[in-house]
Amino acid sequence: MTKESTEKSVQQTSRNFAAELRSFFVLCILNLVFGAMIMAFGIAFIVTGVLGIVNGESLGFAAVQVIAWGAIAFLGFRWILSSVTVMEGVTEIRDEFAALEEPVSGEALTGLIVRMMAHYREHRQPVRQMTIICTLGGIVFIGLGVINIFEGIMALNAPPVTGLFYLPAFLAPLLAVGIDLAVGVVSLLISSWFRKYSRAWDLRLAEASRSEDALRQTMERG
């Protein structure tokens, strides 16, 4: 390899590394936002459930609602915690990469690749948890969306809700269907992106392990 082609290859690797870092960072932020949204939904509906109890709704039904939304709020909380754990370190690596002078030197880049490898080894478990939590979240919200569809169908002939606003009774479940399905689909998408990320890094770790033989031989020759 000539010096020029080596330099070209380093810059190409640097672009690949930057693109991947950017994608992963966006994924983490997206994940954090969705975790927060799910926790907020959970808490909001817990409050609604408690208010229902205060207003004399059937205690058993309201209690089941509060417990169900409590579980969803907890899922959102776990979601946020896992996102923060996974994000830890990546922000630092991203800042260090951004601070590198152009053209990026091969060794500085390799140093950051080593750190990303170490980061993935350390956070492999939380990333897998994230995949499971996002899948669960997606299924829960799509399930809620389906329940809301039935509620909307049942409310088609119900009298309109009056109060501050005049609303057809089916409109509230319809809005809920939209929100639930959107959150559910995005959760499943996030889960599949995490799976894709894991696949890429598992392959790299496996390849790095195989490369250790070559490095050992280089060491032995030394």
Partner: protein
């Protein structure tokens, strides 16, 4: 994060850092190693001839030898190829 690196990654970090003479404490701080483990790595690399030990009065420092260049180059090539040959993650 030290425990999540492989020995080969740590060798590489030490050898790159010691391109200019470095004292023991600077090496363990930079490479995030404890004294005992750091000593073991330095002894291994010195024993293999990848590091030379320079003594100036009471000051001891370590310097990568010409032999280390082969290892640094092989490692750098291998690790960069992980980003070139394996399809990466994109949103």
């Amino acid at each position: 994060m030290a425990e999540r690196r492989t020995p080969y990654e740590i060798y590489w970090e030490i050898l790159v850092f010691c391109r200019t003479p470095r004292p023991f404490t600077a090496i363990i701080n930079r490479c995030n190693l404890n004294s005992k483990i750091g000593q073991e790595y330095l002894e291994f690399l010195s024993g293999k001839g990848y590091l030379s030990v320079l003594q100036e009065g009471e000051k001891i420092s370590y310097l990568s030898t010409a032999k280390a260049a082969d290892y640094i180059e092989a490692f750098t090539r291998l690790y960069q190829s992980l980003f070139d040959t394996i399809p990466g993650f994109r949103l």
